[in-house]
Amino acid sequence: MARIIVVTSGKGGVGKTTTSASIAMGLAKKGHKTAVIDFDVGLRNLDLIMGCERRVVYDFVNVINGEATLNQALIKDKRCNQLFILPASQTRDKDALTQEGVGKILDELAKDFKYIICDSPAGIERGANLAMYFADDAFVVTNPEISSVRDSDRMLGILASKSRRAENNEEAIKEYLLLSRYSPERVSLGEMLSVEDIQDILSLHLLGVIPEAKSVLNASNSGTPVILDKESTAGQAYEDIVARYLGEDRPHRFINEEKKGLFGKLFRSK
């Protein structure tokens, strides 16, 4: 049985595409056949981050419209033969996606794939709603700031009421919190919300904390999901997240400051 995971947030620019790329790569590397779909019609960039933008022939909308088969549109990753990318269309508008069309594609993918990752666009409109409608699991990506947390909360409300599972009265979508671009130093300085603050507001299971890291930008620029960068703290965090999602028990990292100098201790005792 395939498991459909939506990577969602409400707010834009919090790290959904970065997360989708790394999670998909991580699951595929563990031997699970995985497809990652870009739902951001008109603003596609998953293919850039995956480094396959120059191999795009057909896209998601072509498949929905019957202009190409799924097999023609899926791009096989060069680094991992278990990973496939379904790019979004850059030239169509958002209305090109229909619930029926998306449902059909997911059904077809589900026959062959173990995990299907849906990279949601920002916002709470059509694209985002379609990305999450068919989901079994939701990875809610949140940055440690109040507007992002609020938007995630809003998204969680929509997940609970407007998904296929909710409409069919099935077991609810499993929701996980991925706290991204976390900087313990800035939390100490009171510039960002802490893990506890956010947990208090969202009451959500924390799957992992992804630290703010320069390596993310470098990885994106070179078209490599950051999880493949073993030196990167963000990459390690995604590695942990994949392992935890698959049931492994790993302690959380990147929550506290690395060096606990006198200065840090003073703040932490507060």
Partner: protein, 251 residues
């Protein structure tokens, strides 16, 4: 309303709020004479001491309040506790009794009348039905229309409406709105808007374990977060209406 229970199966989580329905003995009082009640209770307990030892109990005052007889609840609570019974709820109380229960850390319940399924019925004295211990669902289940129980957080943008009492086991987010024709209980933080007695029931109340609300309203009388007294902020409170004014009291 389809708020299904979710079930995080991850092992390293520290805690989880779950909702469940369970049976609790209900002690229904039909007469106000305390001495008499005490002696009957003693007798019951001596018949099955193991059954009653540390047993939770819901007190039902519906009947005597229907007869409009004054009844002092505190001595009964004390007596029950002395005898190793643990009162965990009050149903059918009047304002004074309800206040007292809250003071004693005993939550209020809506008790359904029908379907009472008596385990210990007749007492030894014939013709006198002074007290009956019933076993019935103390937690509302789906069969009850009057109160609604929700175990999930109410998220920003969600609206909940209950025809009777509304009981929320988790928190109410900022930007969420909960409404009830009866009382509202929030066992987490109340950060959104809560409107009790929306059909005009002035006796309805709002209870919450941490008050951080954007707005509280009872039967149309409301206060916004700006007007909510900062001293009660973040503490467990009840809010009720008295002479057209909202009173916020720490629990």
């Amino acid at each position: 309303m389809s708020i299904a229970t979710k079930n995080p199966t991850i092992k390293n989580s520290v805690l989880e709020f779950k909702s469940t329905t369970f049976s609790v003995p209900v002690l229904a009082i039909y007469e106000t004479e305390l001495g008499h009640i005490k002696s009957l209770l003693k007798e019951k307990i001596s018949q099955a001491p193991e059954f009653f030892k540390n047993s939770p109990l819901v007190i039902d005052l519906q009947e005597i309040n229907r007869q409009e007889e004054a009844f002092d609840l505190l001595p009964l609570i004390d007596f029950l506790r002395e005898n190793k019974l643990i009162p965990i709820g009050l149903g059918g109380g009047n304002n004074k009794q309800n206040n007292l229960a809250i003071e004693q850390n005993i939550p209020l319940h809506t008790i359904r009348n029908s379907q009472a399924n008596k385990v210990v019925t007749q007492n030894t004295e014939k013709n006198k039905k002074d007290l009956v211990i019933n076993r019935r669902a103390a937690e509302p289940d789906t069969a009850i229309v009057e109160s609604m129980l929700i175990s999930q957080p109410i998220r920003s943008g969600q609206r909940i409406y209950a025809k009777g009492d509304l009981i929320i086991m988790s928190h109410v987010s900022a930007g969420a709105e909960v409404m009830a024709e009866g009382n509202i209980h929030v066992y987490g933080s109340l950060r959104g808007r809560a409107l009790a007695g929306v059909q005009g029931n002035k006796k309805s109340r709002v209870f919450c374990s941490s008050l951080q609300a954007e707005l509280i309203s009872i039967a149309g009388h409301y206060k916004t977060s700006e007007e909510l007294d900062k001293t009660e902020h973040n503490s467990p409170v009840q809010i009720y209406l008295q002479d057209q004014a909202l009173i916020i009291k720490e629990l």
